[in-house]
């Protein structure tokens, strides 16, 4: 009986639950789902991690390659993050070029992580050779807050990358790579994003599932790094007062500390 009621009146179904300050999956409106992180899951990638937030699963793989720096930024390497929402993760997506949502997520993740690695450290020799980090985040299960999972996966995977030592021989224009001495990547910041959905213009649900995101009238993502806020991204939707915004920012900060601890535990447990 409940299944029919849910398909015919999805919004009413949710309102009945929220009236008792509860969500259909049993969480209270401000409780976030549990996060699991595991690292170095793909041996062919130079750095990889898998993150699960509730049902949402994202796998991030980093492949390092060598390329010629851009003429206008001769001493900078490249960090190329791309979020992929394949048709595998949800019936919403079709095969072919990335959808609107995938591109918006790519943009959001690349802005939030632009200052994690100093691109100058990625340069081998100015104007001729630099490291190119191809970061590919593939969503395996689309059930809400995929951009949070992507960000956590990226920051965990970046910390597992080991770049071999490279010298650039000017005459022969050929690099020589010694595969054994490997150096860690120096990662400067650890941004963590927490997303919220506004239901019926006044109830704020933190860490919404896919259904809740569909029925929500507004979305908000707060990216924090310790005490500093990196981004408060609210792309329109029903308006929020600043007190509501303040609560969201404080919830985001506590969750960020929790997630960063989780990443450190995952990294230390698989220590080389």
């Amino acid at each position: 009986m409940a299944a029919q009621y849910k398909t015919i009146h999805p919004v009413k179904y949710y309102r009945d639950f929220l009236a008792h300050d509860l969500r259909p999956d049993g969480r209270s409106p401000d409780k976030t789902r549990n996060v699991t992180v595991n690292v170095n899951s793909i041996s062919t990638a130079d750095g990889s991690s898998t993150v699960r937030i509730g049902n949402t699963t994202v796998i991030c793989g980093i492949k390092a390659e060598l390329g010629k720096p851009k003429p206008d930024e001769p001493e900078c390497g490249f960090m190329v993050p791309n979020v992929e929402l394949p048709p595998l993760c949800s019936p919403l997506f079709r095969p072919g070029p990335p959808s609107e949502e995938a591109q918006a997520m790519t943009c959001f993740v690349s802005q939030a992580t632009s200052d994690m690695v100093d691109l100058k450290e990625l340069c081998v020799s100015t104007d001729n050779l630099a490291w190119v980090l191809h970061i590919d985040m593939i969503c395996l299960d689309y059930d809400g807050c995929v951009q949070d999972a992507c960000l956590i996966a990226l920051s965990a995977a970046l910390r597992t990358v080991k770049l071999p030592k490279v010298e650039y021989d000017a005459e022969t224009k050929l690099p020589s790579v010694s595969l054994d001495e490997r150096a860690d990547l120096h990662v400067k910041s650890s941004p963590v994003s927490t997303s919220f959905a506004v239901f019926d213009d006044e109830i704020i649900l933190s860490d919404p599932t896919g259904e809740e995101e569909n029925l929500s009238s507004a979305k908000l993502s707060v990216v924090t790094d310790g005490e500093v806020i990196l981004s408060v991204h609210k792309p329109g939707g029903s308006a929020l007062s600043e007190t509501q915004l303040q609560d969201c920012i404080s919830v985001a900060k506590d969750r960020a500390n929790l997630v960063n601890e989780l990443i450190n535990v995952a990294l230390s447990s698989v220590d080389r």
């Binding site: 918006a104 943009c107 005490e227 500093v228 981004s231 792309p235 329109g236 029903s238 915004l245 303040q246």
Partner: protein
């Protein structure tokens, strides 16, 4: 309009001169061009028009936001500001009045010298106002920056943005001045965020007053 370029530090708390004109294009149902200092954007609204079957909503209108950069094809970074435009206008328009139709708002960047997204939102909102579509509220967007010393500067242009460590954009509605959308770059503390928000909110009342003057100016044609 007085000279716009250098702004003395005293005027950090004033918006750049805001000049706009309605009904500038003949084909779209509503259009507006807005220049804020050196930044300019032009917006056109088509709606309610026929909607493609795969994008149809049964009980409300589908609002589609299109953002075109000045040159070249829209790339990935324009996509994020396109979704911001689309959701902001979707919140403003009373979509339940026009079910199963499409309202398409396209904004074209004319000149970008800082605060382009804010200028685009204002242009889109004025075009919606000019198109006669029923709306819940109007949206005013204000853009500010935090410079190295942590001071909030309102509506900076490109030169000031060079030494900024963070730039924030807020869009407010005119009913109870809540935050409809917020998009930020760079790092800042929560206190700086709250201060910037309040400064932008006071500036937004100025813009709403400009909107009211526009309506007064175009009143005779209302017949």
């Amino acid at each position: 309009m007085a000279d716009m370029s250098g702004q003395a530090s005293g005027e950090d708390h004033k918006l750049r001169p805001f000049y706009c004109e309605l009904n500038v294009l003949s084909r779209p149902d509503g259009s507006a061009i807005v220049t804020q200092g050196e930044t300019a954007a032009i917006a056109g609204v088509y709606g309610p028009i026929e909607v493609k079957p795969n994008k149809i909503h049964i009980e409300k209108a589908t609002v589609e936001g299109i953002y075109r950069p000045k040159s070249g094809l829209p790339c990935v970074s324009d996509r994020l500001c396109e979704t911001t435009l689309q959701n902001t206008f979707e919140a403003a328009v009373l979509t339940s009045q026009y079910p199963r139709t499409l309202i398409s708002i396209s904004v074209q960047e004319m000149q970008d010298s800082g605060g382009l997204l804010a200028c685009a939102i204002n242009a889109g909102c004025l075009a919606l106002m000019n198109s006669g579509l029923s709306m819940k509220f109007l949206v005013a967007a204000v853009h500010c920056m935090i410079n190295k010393t942590g001071e909030v500067i309102l509506d900076p242009d490109n030169k000031q943005l060079k030494d900024s460590c963070a730039s924030l954009m807020f869009a407010f509605d005119n009913v109870d001045k809540n935050i409809v959308s917020s998009s930020t770059h760079g790092r800042f503390t929560e206190a700086q965020y709250q201060e910037a928000l309040l400064r932008c909110r006071t500036a937004s009342t100025e813009i709403f007053q400009l909107y009211r003057d526009m309506v007064k100016k175009y009143a005779p044609t209302m017949g």
